[in-house]
Every structure is written in structure tokens, then in C-alpha cells.
């Protein structure tokens, strides 16, 4: 089992050089943040991630969680990790200072989230879902609910869950039928919910469930769903814990991965709940948090991929097998070209994904103040979530492959990342849902205007790349070609979809993957340019040379996929839609 070291240097590269710390000052209410301050945060976070949380990862997978008489048992070390995280103030980073938070931008907390998720993906769900609940309560709850719950949630004394899915209502929430019946100042919530992450545990003293349910006589479908805050223990006005609410974990899902995460079936039976937001506006309330949740999954994808990379790299430097040109006798497998190809495929994609996640996070930070940033964030989020989570599958699979036969043996640990990662293309909206959102709501709805703005910006950045710099020539050429393919594909979609109601759905996946790959190419281009600039005046040439190599590798080995995605999407919907159900 390899040690995990958070990639603080690469995180700082993204924040300080790719994005630029001056960008943070554009976020209203954000004080100037300097490099030293960030480094000190990340060094501390790195320490707790690698020394306290990461060691719990293996037990989390092997021992897993269990449920007996409604109580969830967690692996050893979880309680200590939770205590260290909370007492270190890590749960408060980007929360509202009015309720005890530190008020930092999400962009500042995202690298910390990445570290925590890489350290123990299962465990991290507990603290990161709580952030979503905090956001929901802060944005939509009335002041008395805020007074009662927000400080405790931010302090980590309470944790939170998102309670959406029912057996018949997954991607399609319109079908949910958990009921909420008015009862004085509150509601009685009844129904069964599934896939509730950390629905039960005793790491925090209370659990706040955000539950979607239907009021009596509510309109059918998505317009009749309301959001309720349903605590595990009722809370008295003096903030002391009151009686146990009538809800319980009925069972724990037996999953492919994230064994160290209690994914519960929850039964609510006349449980006391409080309305959050307006009646029948539950889905709207949820959607305001959707971008956060999705970018969170994209960040998870980077995190698991990074952990898998570190493990594969350690193995490749250690495992002796075969001979390689230029090496004397039998040699470690890192000297075999195809193993290097695999390592670079992992590494280069991870680096591009990380930048895209952080850039998207900044757009979300800015979205509240500016319509342009809001549109950009809306456009990017499905791309970032869909593409990063899909790549995470490939990356963790390569990580396993590098281990050869040992990768297939669970004790090695490579298989855990492969299993854990498999959830990322599914939850918070499957890749298909992201792709539909992207092509429908984010591109077709505004006739591609925001996307054209993005392409124009990237295009002028690419054109400005120094043509005399030989190491940028190939990149420039590939990107100019890719831009043309993207434009052609966009024109095709805008032109054809009005004639063909099946077109958007049929080509949406290829469109999303094409856009993700293209954004990766943009990241690689700018990264390469920054690296070359730094190579001229730095003592840290090893780092920038490596950055130039991984960026170039991405351009050579990944960007060409833009062509095939584009070609495939321009085949339209006929082959996809022709077969009858029986012909399948």
C-alpha cells in the first residue's frame, strides 16, 4: 500500500500561475490572499490528509461499515479522523463567517477537498456532503432554522445528508412519492429513500437530512416537490438535543466500491420535518446546489485518479521485470516505454482535469456577482463533471493495469481505486444527464452563444501563442485544428436539431466528451506556455520541464480524440434510433 502525498506543488501551480491569485480578488468580500497564506493552509491540510485520514483508507475498504439494530459501525480511525478534521477548522473554510465560517472562496477550499477525498474517498463523503447541506440551509432556510442548525453544521458537530432518490425515482425525480403532511409548525414526513450517503452513523452528534417530499395535493411531477429539513434528533430551542425523530436506516447497500461509506436505505415514518424554501420549490432549491455537487464529483475524480497514479508510480519504480533498451540487465518497469506511456496518460489527464475543476470552481465563486460568470459556470459544470468522471474510470483502470496480475489482487490496493471511482459517472447526475444538460440547456437553448464566447476566448489565446517557440508550434497547430472541429460540430448541431428531435440526445455524449477533451487541450496549451516562460528564469526547471512534457503528451495522445468524437457526432441519430425494441 503506497503512501499518499497531496500534490500541493501542482495545486499551487494551478492557483498561482495558471489562474493567478489576483483572480481571487474579483470575488466580492474576499480579502487579498497571498501565496504564503495558501501554502501554509495546504501544508497543514496535506499533513492531516496524509497522516491522519489516508491511513484509514484500507480498513475502510476491507472492514467496511455495518449496520446492526439501526446503528452503523465504522472502521477504526474514522472517529479520530473526523475529530482532527473538525477541530482543525477544515469544515469551516468556505462557510459564512456569520455562522462561524472562515469566508474563503470555494477555490481556496477545493484543493483541501481534493486532498481529503484522495486520502479516504469513502470517509470524505461525510464531511463534503455536509457542505452541500450547509449551502442549502444558508440559501433557502428561514432564519429560525438557520439559527438552530447552521453553526453546528459548520462546526462539524452536526453532519448532513441529501435525501433524494427513491427506488422508482433516480435520474427522474418527478416520480418520487415520499409524503409530507402539515402538522402545526412542522410536517410529518413518510417514505422510503435509497442511496443515502452517511444516512446513519455516530461520528457527529446529530444528522441533518435534507429530504425531498410531496405535500398533499401538490401538483404532479417536478412541480410538486418540496424540500424539508429532517433532523435525526429534534433540537430544542436552547439548542440542546431533544428526542429521536422517527426515521432510521433500514439497511446498508452492498456496493462495488466505497465500502467505507455508509450508503443507507432510510425509512421515514411520520418524521418531524421543517419546510426549507417555498412550497413545491424543492427541486429548484436542490438545483441551486447542483453545480456545487457536480463540481465536487469532478474534484473527487481528480482525487481518486491522483491516488491511483501515486500508487501505480510507486509500483513502477519498484517492480523489476524484463529488460529495456538503455538499461543494464533486468530493470524496474518504469523503464519500459509502454509503462511510461500508461503513467503519462494518467498523469497528463489528471493535471488537465485538476485545472479544469479549479477554473470551473472560480467561475462558480464569481457566478453570484456576474451574469457572464454565471453562464460560464453553467456551461462548464456538466463538461467538467462528465469528462473528469469518465476519465477517472480510464485512469484508475490504467493504474490497475500497471500492476499486472498483482493489480487484480485486492491486497495490492489498486483495485480499490478502480472500484471506488466507478460511482463518479453515476451519482449527482449520470454522464448521460450531464450530456443532455450540456447540449440542451447550456448550448441549444442560447443558440450556442455562450459556447461561442468561450471558443472565441480560447481561440484568441491560442493565436497569441508564440509561433517562434518550436515547442509550442505543434500545440498551436493541433489546437487550431481542434477549434475548427468544435465549430463545425456546433454548427451541425444547431442546424440539424430543429429538424430532428432525436439528434441532441443521440449525439450528446460525443459532444460532452469532445468538449471535455478540447478544454483539456486548452489547459495543456496554456500550461505549456507557462512552463516555457518559467524555464527561462527559474531554478526549478525539473518541474516545468515535466509540465511541458505532460502538456505536450496530452496534446499528442488525447486531443486527437476531438476528431473522432466530432466525426461520430456528425453521423447524427439514424443508427441510434432505427432499431425497434425487439430488434435489440
Amino acid at each position: 500500500m503506497s503512501h499518499f502525498v497531496p500534490p500541493v506543488k501542482d495545486m499551487m501551480f494551478v492557483l498561482d500561475q495558471f489562474i493567478g491569485l489576483d483572480q481571487l480578488s474579483r470575488i466580492k468580500g474576499c480579502d487579498e490572499i497571498d501565496k504564503e497564506f495558501l501554502e501554509s493552509i495546504y501544508d497543514s491540510a496535506s499533513q492531516i490528509a496524509s497522516e491522519v485520514i489516508a491511513p484509514t483508507n484500507v480498513d475502510g475498504d476491507r472492514m467496511g461499515v455495518s449496520l446492526e439494530k439501526g446503528k452503523v459501525s465504522v472502521p477504526r480511525g474514522y472517529k479520530e479522523a473526523y475529530g482532527a478534521y473538525v477541530s482543525g477548522g477544515w469544515s469551516t473554510l468556505s462557510c459564512n463567517p456569520e455562522f462561524g465560517g472562515q469566508g474563503l472562496p470555494s477555490l481556496v477550499s477545493m484543493p483541501v477537498n481534493e486532498m481529503v477525498m484522495a486520502a479516504n474517498f469513502s470517509w470524505a463523503h461525510l464531511v463534503l456532503l455536509t457542505n452541500s447541506v450547509i449551502r442549502a440551509v444558508e440559501t433557502h432556510a428561514g432564519s429560525s432554522l438557520k439559527d438552530l442548525f447552521l453553526k453546528k453544521l459548520i462546526a462539524g458537530e452536526y453532519s448532513g445528508t441529501m435525501v433524494l432518490t427513491e427506488p422508482q425515482a433516480g435520474s427522474d425525480l418527478s416520480a418520487l412519492n415520499t409524503s409530507a403532511v402539515p402538522n402545526g409548525d412542522h410536517y410529518k414526513i413518510t417514505g422510503q429513500k435509497i442511496f443515502i450517503t452517511w444516512g446513519e452513523h455516530d461520528l457527529s452528534e446529530n444528522i441533518i437530512h435534507m429530504v425531498l417530499a410531496r405535500l398533499p395535493d401538490a401538483p404532479e411531477g417536478v412541480k410538486g416537490i418540496s424540500l424539508f429539513l429532517v433532523p435525526k434528533y429534534l433540537v430544542n430551542e436552547d439548542r440542546s438535543l431533544g428526542e429521536r425523530n422517527s426515521l432510521e436506516a433500514a439497511s446498508i447497500e452492498h456496493k462495488l466500491g466505497i465500502h467505507g461509506c455508509a450508503t443507507c436505505v432510510m425509512n421515514f415514518e411520520d418524521a418531524t420535518g421543517y419546510l426549507v424554501g417555498e412550497m413545491n420549490q424543492g427541486l429548484y432549491c436542490m438545483f441551486t446546489m447542483m453545480n456545487d455537487a457536480r463540481i465536487g464529483v469532478a474534484c473527487e475524480s481528480v482525487a481518486i485518479a491522483e491516488r491511483a497514479y501515486q500508487q501505480a508510480l510507486t509500483y513502477a519504480k519498484d517492480r523489476v521485470q524484463g529488460e529495456a533498451h538503455g538499461q543494464k540487465g533486468r530493470t524496474t518497469i518504469i523503464h519500459h516505454p509502454d509503462v511510461r506511456r500508461m503513467l503519462l496518460k494518467m498523469r497528463s489527464q489528471i493535471e488537465m482535469m485538476r485545472v479544469l475543476v479549479y477554473v470551473n470552481t472560480l467561475e462558480l465563486d464569481l457566478a453570484g456577482f456576474d451574469q457572464g460568470h454565471s453562464q460560464r459556470a453553467d456551461l462548464l459544470t456538466p463538461i467538467t463533471k462528465g469528462w473528469c468522471s469518465e476519465l477517472c474510470q480510464e485512469i484508475t483502470s490504467i493504474g490497475l493495469q500497471i500492476h499486472g496480475g498483482m493489480g487484480y489482487v485486492e491486497e495490492t490496493g489498486a483495485a480499490q481505486h478502480f472500484r471506488d471511482s466507478r460511482i463518479t459517472t453515476i451519482y449527482e447526475g449520470t454522464t448521460g444527464i450531464q450530456a443532455n444538460d450540456l447540449i440542451g440547456r447550456k448550448v441549444i437553448r442560447d443558440q450556442g452563444q455562450e459556447l461561442r464566447r468561450l471558443i472565441a476566448e480560447i481561440s484568441s489565446e491560442i493565436k497569441a501563442l508564440d509561433s517562434n517557440e518550436q515547442r509550442l508550434q505543434l500545440i498551436k497547430e493541433y489546437m487550431i485544428h481542434s477549434i475548427a472541429m468544435i465549430e463545425k460540430s456546433l454548427d451541425y448541431i444547431l442546424q440539424e436539431h430543429p429538424k430532428d428531435p432525436f439528434l441532441a440526445g443521440s449525439v450528446s455524449y460525443n459532444f460532452l466528451m469532445m468538449m471535455g477533451t478540447f478544454m483539456g487541450g486548452w489547459v495543456a496549451s496554456r500550461s505549456a506556455a507557462i512552463a516555457i516562460m518559467n524555464l527561462k528564469n527559474t531554478e526549478d526547471s525539473e518541474f516545468y520541464e515535466a509540465k511541458l512534457v505532460s502538456s505536450t503528451f496530452f496534446i499528442e495522445q488525447c486531443l486527437p480524440l476531438v476528431d473522432s468524437y466530432s466525426k461520430s457526432l456528425m453521423s447524427g441519430s439514424v443508427s441510434t434510433m432505427t432499431l425497434t425494441e425487439d430488434q435489440f
Copy 2:
């Protein structure tokens, strides 16, 4: 858990229409085989696969195997399945009639193998590895060993294992150090071996281990390895079982998948073994079976993928979620374009893979009689093994994805296929090993001659496609473009590799995947042409229409990858080879 129905109709399409049964008559010693005969074989095999073997699959995964005091316990139903398989004569299909076999071509038994592997992949390893042992004994053992063991192996009374890997010797067998010391008419074998599939069990009365070991004073490396037959129980001259040999299963690997397969660590301590083939020629003996083993894994990949497809299809026809254009109200997810895209991605790739496996198998059947077929089989095998096993990863992953959140829950069964399939790119030579074999021994060594012959054949077939047939126009155009890319890539490799010792290794993966995709395109082209021909004069238009759609879908959605693989490989080795070990 979905029922499994072997795709006999598609198998017959490949044998009867794509390949043509007349091709079988080119195999020396093969009597004429007609369609009715094959259909009767496959209908019987289909019955045992779906009714006897397939029901053991879930228990195989959930209960798995266990080892106590050297004895392996197997899940319920395994013994009955083994009995039914053996008593039905299925183990004898393509074995030598001199020892009780039925002498049919491998091409005839391959579809049966596919059914059995799809029915229970873990269980099937037992009977299919025995086939490899039979081949080894028949090809390389002396007559007394043949007399003693071959009939019982063919009859399924004995089973067999391949005993190669040691902890320090995986892909690189040169490093193995199990020893063999002469002792009268036999040898004493001592050493520890890992990853021994079905190394111990009591489903058969004896187990025949084919063990690679080193004689005293043998040359170092691969030239000092010999092959030994080491039975679990010694066999007396009257063929009765003698005493227990001194070997045992020390433990069972805890694996990501194939839980229903006993993968053992085996200890040999002065175990009695018999030399098979010449001294120090063990690796050569193994290599004569390598093509069989590799095409076997390719066939497994088709099998697991088919099973995953059937399960996903059943779910897609059953699961109601969301609304879709042209459907009234909430509808089953098979009506969502992106779900159809996923199903067709699975299906079209499976169909192309199946043909490639069967075509390659025919070349292996013909290889013994004709140098041309031997070279063709050698060229195709690493492509078929590498490409099919890589695609199997994607297909089983899509299968899981179609199930949404339910796919991540183990009870659904989709995750099992995803886990099981993950071994196929690793054993019998990783994809990296296949890729190196392809580019080095099969292409560069003969200066691309055999590959150029293959390209020329495909090229003239494509040129002969009817240009007036509108449904073939696109296919023809795409294939002509792909042929040009393949030729360009081949020229590049042949021209550059003498100048760059790292080139072949750096581009080998892209080359293999490009070739596999291209071969898939060839299969799709011929399949489409056959389908169109049949549509003119058949009552079974549903089948041929579907075949035309899946073939066209492959051309549109998969073949464009030839471009990106080609572009990536022509980037050469620089980015792959530049980083120092520390820079990773």
C-alpha cells in the same frame, strides 16, 4: 439477475455467412460440416449453458471459493455443472479422436466455449484450461505420458492447470527459479507458483499441472526453462490413482473478480514431475500453445461482454424513468437516445469482436497446414486478444452505467461482469505484451509484409463494395480513409524505428488499438454487405436490418478512432521517453 440466452443465431451468422462453412473443408482431416449439424450442436450446448451452468454464476461470485486444510470448497451447482459438461461430451469436441476426442475444428468448438464462458466465467476456466493442457501434452509429451494421461484429460476425468508465474516472474518468465532435479525416470520439482487457476479442487479425480521449472546447471534466462507434467495424484501403470504427490495449494488469492474461480498459490516440494518436450525448451513448448490461450481470452472477452449486454438490455426494457420524445408519459429507458447509444455501443462492438475471434480461430485451425495461414494467425492473435479484452472493459462498464445507481449495487449483477472482465487485459500476456509482440515480432520483423498482404486483401474487398448501394457508400468512404491511415502509420513505423530504439515500445499500444479498430471496420463492412444482400431475399429481415444498423453504428461511432490512434502514434516516442524517473 437476468437470464442468459446464448446468441446462437449470431454465432451461426458468423460461421455460415461471414466465414462460410465451406472454409471448414480446407482444414485437413475435417469432414464436411453442414449447417444443421452445427445448429444441433449449438442448440444442445445452449441448453446446458443457460440451464445448468448459468444459474451457478451468481453463487460463484457471492459465495466464491474457499480453502481449508489444502482443500478447496466450491459453490453449489459447480459439481453438477461439471458432470453435465463432461457427460455431454463437451470437453471432447475438438480433441484428437485417437484419445477419445471428436476431432472437430477449433472453430466449431469456439462458439461452445463462448457460451460456457458467458454462462459462468469463473467455472469455465476449469474446463477451458484443461484444453490447453491437452494440447500441450498431445503436442510435446512422449507416448507413455500421452498413454497415461491424455484420454482421462479429454474425458474430463482429469483436469489441468498451467503453472508459470512466480512472484518475481510474471510477464518476464526468464526470472523464474522453481527447480527440477533429475531422479531416475522423473524429476523432483520444488518451488512456489502464484496465480494458478483451479490449482486445487475436487471436481475432477486428478489434476495435471504443467509446470515451468529450471534444471540444475540450466542456462540463465528463458533458455534454461523446461516444462514438466506434475500430477496431483501419481498414476500407476494400470491407470489407477497412486499416492498423493507432494504439492499443495497454500492459499487462494483474494481477487477483484472471478470469485468463483480458485486462483491458488501452489507449493511444490520435491514433487514428482515428468519432462514434457526437450530439456530447456519449456518456453518454446508453452509458446506453441500461446496463440490458443490468447484467442481463448479474446473469446472470453466476447462472452462476458455478451452477458453484460443481455443484462443491460433486460434492464433497459424494464426500467421506467423519465419521458422521451415520441413516447407517451414516463417510459422505459430503452427509449432514451443516450441509452440506445450505450446499448448499440455494446452490441456493435461485441458483434465485430465475435467475428474477429472466429476468423482468427479458423486461421489457427489452418495454420498447421499452411505457412500463409500460420503467418496470418500469428499477426491476428495479438490484435484479437489485445483489442477484444480492452473493449470488454468498456462494454462491461457501459453495462453497469445503463443500470445507473443500481449498477453500483452488487445484488444487481452488472458489477460482477465489470469486475470479472478486468482480468482479461492482464493474463495470457497483458495488452502491453500483446502490443509489443504485434509491432515487434509480427510487423517489424518481416518489414510489414504480412500486414501489407492483409491490408491489400481488405482493400480489394472494400473497393469491390457496390458503390451504387447507398447504405454502403459511407462505409466504403470511411474504410478507404482508414486504410490510408493504416498504411501511413505502418510506413512511419518502418521508417522511424531503425533510428529510434524507443519508438516501437512507445507507439505499440496505439498501433494495436488502431489495428483492432480497423479490423472491426472490416468486419462491419462485410457484415453490412451480407445483410443488404440478404435483405433482398429473406423472410428474416428484422435480423439483417439489425445487423446493418449495428455494422453502420460501428463504422460511425468506433472506426473514427483509427484517426486518433494513428495521429497519436505518429507523435513518436519523445514525450513518452523524456522524463527522468524522479520527474514522474
